[in-house]
């Protein structure tokens, strides 16, 4: 009986010791950091976090990762339930900042005024939101990379056809004229398998806004209360995009296209509008020489390109905001961004973390001459309405003016008013 009591006593002592261990570990400040990553990115990000933990013995960062497709719905559920991590990679800045779940960083920056010096200024401003649109107002995050819309082109294909590479003198008309020279039925089966150009698979609002700027307007009004796609500039822009497939046939139709990236990687496209993040994909997969050029200018204005960056922010409900701020600064630091750029080819938001490649030089020029798109919370729903009618212009080959009627514009504006 005594031996039984002894064993039980020993077990109790062990249990108390084991339960005390987390308490001992709790001497460190735990910071939860949530982001979306591919497998390859996760390997690098874990190394970055391990280094941060080594440099900050009093802080322990716990990395929580998701696939891109699940990230936003998971995070907004966590934010709603009050269980969201301390540091967030922000997938929807206007919504999250607008609904008050992100910490305003200006007081933190005020303590270290030189902190923002080394970034592309426009990319930093893409982390601001003034309650109407992104680009102005309080700062909600630090950019851990940078991006802009760009024209990728297959250098080998241009060389083969003896056509000069695209440059800043190109216009929308040049694009159509040159693109037509690459259209080819390679295997002679009556079906075209090489095209001049492709636009993003999903017609993004940023892309349509970009083309509209070339025609002298923007997609949304300044106060974000109405959509301008029904104006002459808007209809001209929509028609220009649709005509690339339906009239000029330099761009594959919906039926002829696979994923945008895939078709370019396979060497079936001369040019491809895409964001600079595709750099990492093409770097890894494309078996030909490629480069980038500025997006050509529109007939009315030299519009530039939309600029943005992925930002990391602090959850307003975090109990460890100072430690979270340390992590934010580290994730956006020059060394960490250089590591991501060298290992993953993710374009950095600090010019000093880049290199002297053509890619980085052209991207830097485009970012410096670009603009901040200025997203806002109602844009997603309004864009969803536009998108479905946009499909009709392309699929049914109807004139944009017949599709985007006043009834449709009212429907879009109603979505904006919600």
């Amino acid at each position: 009986m005594r031996s039984v009591r002894g064993v039980v006593g020993l077990l109790v002592v062990m249990l108390v010791l084991v339960s005390a261990l987390p308490g001992l570990a709790a001497a460190k400040t735990v910071v939860r950091y949530s982001t979306w990553l591919t497998h390859e990115e996760e390997v690098v990000e874990k190394e970055i976090i391990a280094e941060f933990n080594r440099l900050h013995p009093d802080i322990e960062v716990q990395l929580e990762t998701s696939a891109w497709g699940d990230y936003t719905s998971k995070l907004i559920t966590q934010l709603s339930a009050g269980t969201a991590p301390d540091v967030l990679n922000v997938s929807e800045l206007p919504e999250w900042a607008g609904y008050g779940v992100l910490e305003v960083l200006d007081p933190y920056v005020a303590r270290e005024p030189e902190l923002l010096d080394g970034f592309f200024p426009k990319v930093v401003d893409a982390g601001r939101f003034d309650g109407v649109a992104v680009g102005k107002g309080p700062l909600y995050g630090l950019p851990i990379n940078a991006g802009c819309q760009i024209l990728f082109y297959n250098k080998d294909m241009f060389d083969k056809y003896g056509i000069p590479y695209p440059d800043e003198t190109w216009t929308f008309d040049t694009l159509v004229e040159v693109g037509a020279k690459f259209v080819e039925d390679r295997d002679g089966d009556g079906i075209i398998d090489q095209f001049g150009l492709i636009c993003p698979t999903v017609w993004g609002d940023q892309f349509v806004d970009l083309i509209m700027r070339g025609y002298g307007s923007t997609l949304w009004s300044e106060d974000r209360k109405s959509c301008l796609i029904g104006t002459k500039a808007g209809l001209d822009a929509v028609q220009w995009i649709a005509d690339l497939s339906n009239k000029h046939h330099i761009m594959p139709t919906f039926a002829e296209r696979t994923a945008t990236n895939e078709q370019f990687e396979m060497g079936n496209l001369a040019m491809c509008f895409h964001h600079t993040y595709s750099n990492s994909i093409f770097h890894k997969r494309a078996s030909f020489n490629w480069s980038i050029a500025p997006v050509p200018s529109g007939p009315v204005a030299k519009q530039g390109v939309p600029v943005w960056g992925h930002i990391v922010a602090i959850n307003v409900s975090s109990k460890v905001k100072d430690a979270a701020w340390e992590l934010l600064k580290y994730l956006a630091s020059e060394d960490v961004q250089r590591k991501r750029y060298q290992e993953l080819r993710t374009p950095p938001s600090r010019p000093a973390a880049g290199d002297d490649s053509d890619f980085f030089r052209v991207m830097t020029e485009c970012i410096n001459s670009g603009y901040i798109y200025g997203g806002f919370p109602q844009a997603q729903e309004a864009w969803n309405v536009i998108h479905s009618y946009f499909d009709k212009v392309v699929l049914a080959n109807k004139p944009a003016s017949e599709v985007f009627t006043s009834r449709v514009i009212t429907q879009i504006d109603k979505a904006l008013s919600r």
Binding site: L79, V101, F254, A255, Q380, D391
Partner: protein, 307 residues
């Protein structure tokens, strides 16, 4: 012994307590994870709520707004269209396969396994495979097959006209579960009935329509009812394979609810649309129940007369 069976006896009380203990996990799950969210969603449906803030009561505005929303009408039309195409075809396919594998061939278990296999594979993987099969380019497997006969290529998922039939076509290959249920029902049809019919000189078709179908009609009723309930709520394939497009041609109610909640931050509207969907499913189920009196044969209900 008789005393022990009296109501309120100690043993009975103990048994009752144990009964409640055993069903407690289910009861807890039902109240906490089903009933409470359902009741809460009524409150949400009467509120303007962006998920991240506090709900604000707005009465029936969400329902009124949905009534005038063109996308709701589009999604409702698409949902009914796809259900009307899917449920008869998939039920017929499941029954057809069950009839085929309900034979005494030596290798029939292999066929049963093969036909059931797609049902145990992850749905997402299958959808990715089918996205490739239905690729609209000439490299898509379906178009390659059509090409052998000089047909196509079809635009499949990228066409307003073909997106819905394409999704239904894919779902027709996922009827393994239904096949197993029908197979179990077929195994329960008494062999004597077929023997009697054969003696009377009945053809195979007559045996199928006069014996098999009536005898498995409760199973058929179950499959169709559950199919309608499940299909009206289902949106995974539309979400992954078409995103509801092109031009909203495959936008269904489930997908619209998801978008309202998690893309447009309008949880109130999503909850209201969920209750409208609930009402629609309820109406279809009641119609089914009323209609079933005409065509469903319950052996137990008439067994007394026949024995």
């Amino acid at each position: 012994m008789l005393k022990l069976k009296l109501p309120g006896s100690r043993l009975e009380r103990i048994e009752n307590i144990w009964g409640y203990i055993f069903i407690f996990p289910w009861l807890f799950g039902f109240f906490a994870l089903t009933l409470y969210p359902m009741l809460f969603s009524i409150r949400i449906s009467l509120s303007n709520w962006n998920i991240l803030g506090r709900p604000r009561y707005i009465g029936f505005d969400n329902f009124i707004d949905l009534f005038y929303d063109e996308r709701v009408r589009t999604a409702l039309y698409n949902t009914i269209y796809m259900a009307a195409l899917n449920i008869p075809l998939c039920t017929a396919m499941a029954l057809g396969l069950a009839l085929l594998v309900n034979s005494n061939l030596k290798c029939v278990s292999i066929f049963r396994t093969v036909y059931y296999l797609p049902s145990v594979v992850s749905g997402i993987s299958l959808m990715m495979v089918w996205t490739w099969i239905l690729d609209p380019s000439k490299n898509g497997l379906a178009n390659m097959f059509l090409g052998l006969f000089g047909l196509g290529p079809l635009s499949w998922l990228k066409s307003e006209a073909w997106s819905k039939p394409s999704l239904v076509l894919m779902q027709m290959f996922l009827v393994g579960g239904g096949m197993v249920v029908f197979l179990a029902a077929l195994k329960n049809v008494p062999v004597q009935l077929y023997e009697s019919a054969e003696i009377d000189g009945a053809s195979a078709w007559t045996k199928f329509t006069k014996i098999t179908l009536p005898m498995i009609s409760p199973t058929m009723f179950f499959q169709v009812t559950m199919g309608i309930i499940g299909y009206f709520q289902n949106y995974a394939a539309n979400f992954i394979m078409t995103g509801g497009g092109p031009a909203d041609s495959s936008l269904v109610l489930g997908l619209l609810i998801w978008r309202q909640a998690f893309e447009w931050y309008r949880m109130g509207s999503a909850a209201a649309l969920s209750w409208i969907l609930f009402g629609i499913i309820m109406i279809f189920t009641i119609i089914q129940l009323i209609g079933s009196r005409r065509w469903v044969y319950y052996e137990a209900a008439q067994g007394g007369d026949e024995s």
